[in-house]
C-alpha cells in the first residue's frame, strides 16, 4: 500500500518491475535513471551478483511533482527473475502499488514468460492481492532483436499468451535502445495514481 503522509502532504508509491530472468527489468531502470538524472537525487541501488544478475532488487526513487496537492515520490523496484529466487520476489512485492510485467519477446523464451506471469499471480495471492485488481502494464521487450534476425514472437501472439484475460495496457519496447521505456513508466504511474485517487483527499 502506498504510504500517504497527510502532514507533509507526501505520497510514496511502490512500482515493481517483474518478469522472467534476463528479460530486461534492470535495463529498464538503467534507462530511466539515465533519462531522469536531474530529478533523481540518490544513486540507483542494485544488489546483484558477479554476472550482473539481480540478486535481491534494484531500487530507484524519484519525484514526479504534485498530484492533488500531494508531492508524489515514485519508488521503482525490480525483482530477481531467476527461478530460484522466488522467495525474494515475494518479499519485494510486499506493499506493491503497481506492476510492470517485462516479458521477453524472444521466441525461445515464450514458456518462461508464462511461468513468470503465473508466479506473479501466486506471489500476489500470498500478499492477499489479486492480479486482476492491481494496476498492471505489460511490456513486450527486446523488439529490436527482429532487426538482428533473432526470432521474436509476433505482438498478437504475446497478447494472446499473456493479456488474453488480463486485458491491461501493453507495449512493445526495447530497453536497450530506450524505445517505449518512458511510455511504459508513464502508463503504470497514471494507472497507479488513478487507483489511489480516492485515498488522496
Amino acid at each position: 500500500m502506498a504510504f500517504i503522509n497527510p502532514r507533509n502532504k507526501e505520497v510514496q508509491v511502490k512500482i515493481v518491475y517483474y518478469g522472467p530472468g534476463r528479460g530486461g527489468k534492470t535495463t529498464n531502470l538503467e534507462h530511466i535513471n539515465s533519462k531522469f538524472k536531474e530529478r533523481i537525487r540518490s544513486e540507483m541501488v542494485s544488489i546483484k551478483t558477479y554476472g550482473d544478475r539481480t540478486l535481491f532488487f534494484d531500487f530507484l526513487p524519484f519525484e514526479v511533482g504534485k498530484i492533488k496537492g500531494y508531492d508524489v515520490r515514485i519508488q521503482l523496484y525490480t525483482v530477481p527473475g531467476q527461478v530460484k529466487y522466488n522467495a525474494t520476489r515475494r518479499l519485494v512485492l510486499k506493499g506493491v502499488d503497481g506492476i510492470v510485467f517485462v516479458a521477453d519477446s524472444m521466441t525461445v523464451q515464450r514458456e518462461k514468460n508464462l511461468i513468470s506471469l503465473k508466479g506473479l499471480q501466486e506471489n500476489l495471492e500470498a500478499h492477499n492481492k489479486n492480479i486482476f485488481g492491481v494496476p498492471l502494464v505489460l511490456q513486450y521487450n527486446k523488439r529490436d532483436l527482429k532487426k538482428r534476425n533473432i526470432p521474436i514472437l509476433p505482438f498478437d501472439v504475446m497478447e494472446q499468451d499473456l493479456n488474453n484475460r488480463l486485458k491491461v495496457a501493453s507495449l512493445g519496447a526495447s530497453a536497450v535502445t530506450g524505445e517505449n521505456v518512458l511510455p511504459t513508466l508513464k502508463k503504470i504511474i497514471s494507472a497507479t495514481m488513478s487507483s489511489l485517487q480516492d485515498d488522496l483527499k
Binding site: P6, S42, I47, F56, F57, T88, V92, K94
Partner: protein, 127 residues
C-alpha cells in the same frame, strides 16, 4: 487505508523519535513500513544519508532475515544490529507492519541505545 496515519499520530511518533532517540545521541532515526516506505523520520541536523534507499534496503533486509528465521524454526529475529567503524545501524520491529531503523555513532553505547529503543517502541505501540 491500512497504513495511513492521522497528522496527530505522526506528530506524536516524530516527537517520540526526537525525544527518546535523537536526544539519546542517535544521528538519524526512520520509522518505516515493511514495504520500505518512510512514515516518520528525525535526525540531529548533521546527517546527510540517503534515507529513502536505506528504508528500501532496511525493509528488504529485515524481510530476508525473517525468512531465514523461519527456515531455522524461529518466528522472527525482532532485532538486528550492524556495527561499523564510525556509524552503526540498529533495526527493531515495532509491530507486524512497521520497523524502526536507527543510525548512531561510536559515542553512543549499544546497551543504552537498546534501552531507549525499547522505551520508544513501547510508546509508539501505545499511541
Amino acid at each position: 487505508m491500512e497504513n495511513s496515519f492521522t497528522p496527530e499520530k505522526l506528530d506524536k511518533i516524530e516527537s517520540i523519535l526526537a525525544e527518546d532517540l535523537i536526544e539519546a545521541g542517535a544521528n538519524s532515526v526512520i520509522f518505516i513500513d515493511r514495504a520500505g516506505n518512510i512514515m516518520a523520520r528525525q535526525d540531529n541536523g548533521h546527517c546527510e544519508h540517503d534515507v529513502y534507499s536505506l528504508a528500501a534496503l532496511g525493509a528488504g533486509n529485515f524481510g530476508a532475515v525473517n525468512a531465514m528465521a523461519n527456515i531455522v524454526g524461529e518466528d522472527e529475529f525482532s532485532l538486528l544490529f550492524h556495527k561499523g567503524q564510525k556509524e552503526s545501524l540498529h533495526f527493531s520491529k515495532v509491530d507486524e507492519e512497521s520497523l524502526l531503523i536507527i543510525i548512531f555513532g561510536k559515542d553512543v553505547s549499544l546497551g543504552f541505545l537498546r534501552l531507549k529503543v525499547a522505551e520508544a517502541v513501547k510508546k509508539i505501540r501505545e499511541i
